[in-house]
Structure formats: C-alpha cells, structure tokens
C-alpha cells in the first residue's frame, strides 16, 4: 500500500519526488529536521535560548556524549551494541585523574586514559568475537564489573584538585573557540572519513548489514567488530579527558547512566539499531539533539528528575520512527 502511494507521488513530480525520497533515506535527515524545529521552538519559547553563548554551551556540554556516541555508532553499524561506556568513561576519568594528580601534565594522563579505554574495549571485543558471548551480555556485565574496578582502584575515594595543565582538553580555547568543540568536530571529520573512505569503514557497514554474506565474501568479520570495540575504548579515553577537564575532579559514580544517553544519541540520530545503516553525522546530530532537549528543558523549567523519562521516550520514538521510515521506503532503504 505504501509503495503505491510513493509511486503516485513520483508520477506527479518525478524529479522533486525522487530527490525528496533520496533525502528522506539519508540516515540523519529526520533528526536534523527535528533539531531545526526544536531550535526554532525553543528560540520562540524562551528568551535566553538563542544566543551564541547558549548555543556554544549546548555544543560544549555534549562533547563527552558526542565523542563516545560517534564511536559507539561504529559498533552499532557493525551490528553489535556497547552499553558499558558509562562505567568505562568513569574508569578512564579515574585513571586519568589519578595519573594527573600524581605526575601532572597533559600527555601522560591522556595516554593512561586512552590505554585503559582501549584495553577495556579490547576485552569487550575479544569476549564478543573469540568468546562468542553476545555483546549485550558482555557489555552489561562490563558495565557493572568496570564500576567495581573503579572502587578497587580508589577504595571509594574521590579524586579532586586536578591541575590546570591537565584540564586543557576541557577548559582551553584556541582563537576563542573552546578546545572541546574543536576536538568534537575534529573527531567527527576523522570518523566520517574513516567510515566512508577506508576499507575498515566499509567493512563495518557490510558486516552490520548482512553478517553471513560478509563472511562468505571473505571479509574479516571478527577483526572488523573487534576494531570497532577498541575504537570505542580509545574515544572513551579521549572523552574522559574532556570530562575531567570540565569537572576538575572525579567521583566514583562518574559517567553513571551515560551509556543510555549514548545509545539514545545514536538511534535518535538515525543509525539503525539493526546495523548496517547510519552515519557519523547521525550520531553527532543525535548527541546535539539530546543536549538541546536537556538544555531547553532546563530553560523551560522542567524538573531535572524527568530527564531519564524524556530520554527513554526519545529512544522509543526514534526506533519507532526508524521502523516506520523503513516500511514507507520499502526495500530501497
């Protein structure tokens, strides 16, 4: 039925209709439209929303979320999932914080955070590919296990008083543009490029789109998925340095609940949870959308306790929209 409607629309205005349909099949399109509508809505609804200061504040506030979401996006594109990122971010921030308070500097804490992240990601990847344990179980287990490791390292103590040179990645600015923002967009450019133009990037789509077919075609299915999990770890390490730069200290519950925001950002942005369909732009758009909504909620005076509820509703809306869109587009999408 829906296909018939589409073809009538085509018959009437073929070039516009075809162009519109191609645009509609673009993963991030609905999220971008929604974001634009929200920006207009909040600008009209509240006085303080539409200012350079506030918009920059929104973008800066989603840096941690955005960086992790763009990496998890690759895991989801490959047909897997990673819900361990909240605890992983906490662990990387804790390790980075401890190294920074003992040795100072920026490079050493960054290296420590990235290495710990990469190791945790590699453990996820190994258990999924070699251990053949489903990713949801591995990363659910790791979500709790890594939180335990944080307590093992710290004995429940907080880290505070992180020196200024370490906080550069969260607080610094170059030519008036904050470093978190530059990092976010640099990583966006890098990941887009990798995803679209490298062999690994294309393999991720193939593996997520149809794993048996990818295996039969001789693609390194396990290595592709493993690399995606390690990439998440590395990006979580980088994001953790932005986090401690912004907060100046690390609590043992740092990053708790972040994993849900990350998944929400990826699927709201338009990457299909079924794998094989989506883009880095989608994950970034989703993260900005979440930041905008949370910011707008505060400006509109919605109590913060509704945050989790709004997040859940958004995830359900996004995945429902994805299904309806795929049904409307038929086999094309």
């Amino acid at each position: 039925m829906s296909e018939a409607q589409v073809s009538t629309a085509d018959g009437r205005s073929s070039s516009v209709g075809a162009g519109f349909r191609r645009w509609l099949s673009w993963p991030a399109a609905p999220a971008l439209v929604f974001l634009a509508l929200l920006l207009v809505g909040f600008s009209v609804g509240t006085e303080r929303f539409l200012s350079i200061g506030n918009l920059e504040a929104i973008l800066t506030s989603v840096t941690v979320l955005g960086i992790i979401a763009m990496a998890v996006n690759q895991v989801i594109l490959a047909g897997e999932i990673d819900i361990s990122t909240g605890s992983m971010m906490g662990l990387c921030a804790m390790v980075g914080g401890i190294v920074s308070t003992s040795y100072g500097g920026l490079i050493l804490p960054l290296l420590a955070a990235v290495v710990v992240g990469a190791l945790a990601g590699a453990l996820n990847g190994l258990l999924v590919t070699v251990g053949r344990v489903p990713a949801i179980i591995v990363t659910l287990g790791m979500l709790y296990a890594l939180r335990g490791v944080i307590l093992l390292i710290t004995g429940g103590e907080w880290v505070s008083g992180i020196p200024g040179e370490t906080r550069l990645m969260g607080l610094g600015a170059v030519f008036g543009v904050s470093i978190p923002l530059i990092l976010l967009f640099a990583l966006f450019a890098a990941l887009s490029l990798v995803s679209r133009n490298t062999i690994w990037g294309r393999n991720v789509y193939a593996v997520g789109g149809n794993r048996p077919a990818a295996r039969l075609a001789g693609l390194p299915v396990d290595r592709t998925r493993f690399t995606a999990f390690v990439l998440v770890g590395v990006c979580v390490g980088i994001a953790a340095m932005v986090f401690i730069g912004r907060t100046g200290g690390v609590q043992t519950n740092a990053g708790a609940g972040l994993e849900l925001q990350v998944i929400a950002a990826v699927v709201i942005g338009g990457t299909s949870i079924a794998g094989g369909r989506g883009s880095t732009l989608a994950a970034l758009t989703g993260a900005v959308l979440i930041g905008t909504i949370l910011n707008g909620m505060i400006l509109l005076g919605v109590p913060g306790i509704w945050q989790s509820g709004v997040l859940g509703a958004l995830i359900l809306l996004a995945i429902t929209g994805d299904v309806l869109r795929r049904r409307a587009l038929g086999a094309e999408a």
């Binding site: 258990l127 179980i137 699927v267 997040l311 509703a313 429902t320 299904v323």
Partner: protein, 322 residues
C-alpha cells in the same frame, strides 16, 4: 546407520544436559561450603530461610525472564518496572486511594508496562533489547517524575503481610515463590503454550510457518512478566515498607544472571525452570555469603558482572560442543 548416529547424538546431548545440572549443583555446593567457612552464621537454617526473603523478588521475575530468553528475547526494563509499580502503588495510596485498590492499581501498572514492551516487540517487530533499553530509561524516569524523587512509607500494618509474614520460621514469600515456580514450570513444560515458547526460540520463521501464533505468545510473555514484576514489587514494597523511585536499580543484572547461569541460551530455544531455580540459588547464596563476609555492594555487582559473562561463555561453549 543414520538412525544409530542420531541415537548416539541424542545420548550425547542427554549426557551433556545431565552434566550441566550436576555442574550447577556442584557449583552451588562449593559456594555453600566456601561461604560457611567465611561466615559462621551462613550455614544456619534461620539464615537460609531469611535469605529466601531477598531472592523471592529476583526469582519471581527470573521465571518470566526464563521464558522470554527461551524465545531469544530479553527484558532489560524489569528493574525500572519494579520501581514504577512500587511508586504507583505507594503514591496512589498516599493520594488517598484505599490500599487494596492501590495494590490493584500497581498490578495494573505492571501489566501495562509489560504490554507496552510487547507492543513494540510484536507490532513494530523491534528487537526487545532496544525496546527494553528504552523502557528501562522511560519507566525509571516516570517513576522519578511521579514520585518527585520522594518516598512513601506510612503503610498500614496489614500491608506487612506481603513481605514480612512468617508461617512458623518459613517466610510467606517463599511459599508464593514455590507456587509461582510450580505454575510457570507447568506452563513451560506441560502445555502447548510452553512448546510454542521453545518453537519460537529454536526457529521463529519455522514456527511462524507451522502456525504458531507468535505475536500472541510474545504479548502473553511480556505481559505475564509484567505481572510477575508487579507481584515482586508488592512484596518488595512491603518488605522494605517504602515506595521509592530508585528501587530495583540493577535488578535486571541479577535476574538475567540467574537465568543464563541456569543454562538458558541467550540465542533462544534452550532453558528450563529447574535450571533457573538452581542459577537463582547460586546467586542468592553468593550474595548472602558476600554480605555476611562484609563485602561491599559494588563488589557484589563486580562479581555478578563477571559471573554473568562467564556463565554465558560456558553456555555457548557447551552449545558448540553439541
């Protein structure tokens, strides 16, 4: 010749299944012995019976989860649903609803939460993993929003019966749990519905073509689990005499760990109620023993997390052998 091969294979599988439950039982005995060395209080009847008050809630939900996992599904939202039911019950009571009606309302909310999950799973054919990840956030958020992050605890004394009632030394909820185990076992092992559950898990396409009403079975499973969650929530709320939005945080980990430890395959088609009960007993004794040994709750989560991954690893390892 082929016949004899099949018989051999069947014998092999039978042996494996036997060895799995023996392995589980051996693990349980090992845990019990280790814990009794760690704490002198552990191996006493009163402690054992007291422990059962805590694992009833996990156990009730694990029964429903077993069936869901056998169909290759999952429900991550059970911890949040428990909080939602608890808050619905407590705050409708605080708002002036008579307590029996408030309890009924809680049951209704539990059923509705399960039906809500099943709507997305069956009508939109979305993977239950994502759906329940969404409702995990949604239900918890609604519970926080409705309760305004506040707590209700001025329940009348008779409400204690649900979670603090004893028949002699035996806690009331243990009896409820044993009854529930029997009913769910009967449904899974002795009815056509139970065969449908396994059929869907083995091969959903084949089940569809064989005329199994897949949607109806799944709606029944998720809604039924919602009912078990509601039951667990009522017992929980009565046991702690408080309705709060942060109840049951991380509960899904305990539940899923018990089920997969009991041998249910996350890929569907495999699992038994007996296995789940054994898995539950192992987790419950482990947790109780760790508490008595003075291990912090976050460490318990760490151990549980590792246990969960290890259990699934060994499940799939055994499965490959088959």
């Amino acid at each position: 010749m082929i016949g004899s091969v099949i018989t051999n294979l069947k014998g092999y599988t039978g042996n494996l299944r036997l060895s799995r439950e023996i392995v589980l039982f051996a693990v349980l005995v090992t845990v019990v012995v280790t814990m009794s060395f760690l704490s002198p209080v552990f191996l006493t009847l009163s402690n054992m019976l007291n422990t059962s008050r805590f694992f009833t809630e996990i156990g009730l939900i694990a029964l429903g989860m077993t069936l869901i996992i056998i169909t290759a599904g999952i429900d991550l939202s059970v911890g949040s649903s428990l909080a939602l039911v608890s808050v619905a019950l407590g705050f409708s009571f605080a708002a002036g609803l008579p307590l029996p009606l408030a309890i009924l309302f809680g049951v209704f909310v539990g059923l509705a939460a399960g039906a809500f999950n099943s709507f997305f799973v069956t009508q939109l054919e979305l993977h239950p993993l994502v759906v329940t990840l969404g409702t995990l956030a949604l239900f918890r958020g609604v519970a926080y929003g409705l309760s305004n992050a506040d707590a209700v605890s001025d329940f009348p004394p008779w409400f204690d019966y649900f979670g603090q009632f004893f028949i002699g030394p035996i806690p009331g909820q243990l009896i409820v749990f044993v009854l529930a185990v029997f009913v769910v076992w009967l449904i899974l092992a002795r009815t056509r519905f139970g065969r449908y559950v396994y059929a869907i898990g083995h091969n959903e396409e084949a089940a569809r073509f064989s005329g199994v009403p897949i949607r109806r079975v799944k709606i029944a499973l998720y809604t039924g689990t919602g009912l078990l969650v509601a039951l667990a929530a009522i017992i929980y709320t009565s046991r702690v005499s408080t309705a709060r939005a942060d109840s049951g945080t991380g509960l899904e980990l305990d539940v899923i760990a018990a089920v997969v430890l009991g041998g249910a395959s996350i890929y569907g088609g495999k699992g038994t109620i007996a296995g789940t009960v054994l898995g539950l007993l192992i987790i419950a004794t482990l947790r109780n023993g760790l508490v008595l040994a003075g291990v912090s709750s976050t460490w318990q989560l760490f151990i549980l997390g590792v246990l969960l991954i290890a259990a699934v690893f060994f499940n799939e390892f055994f499965r490959k052998e088959e």
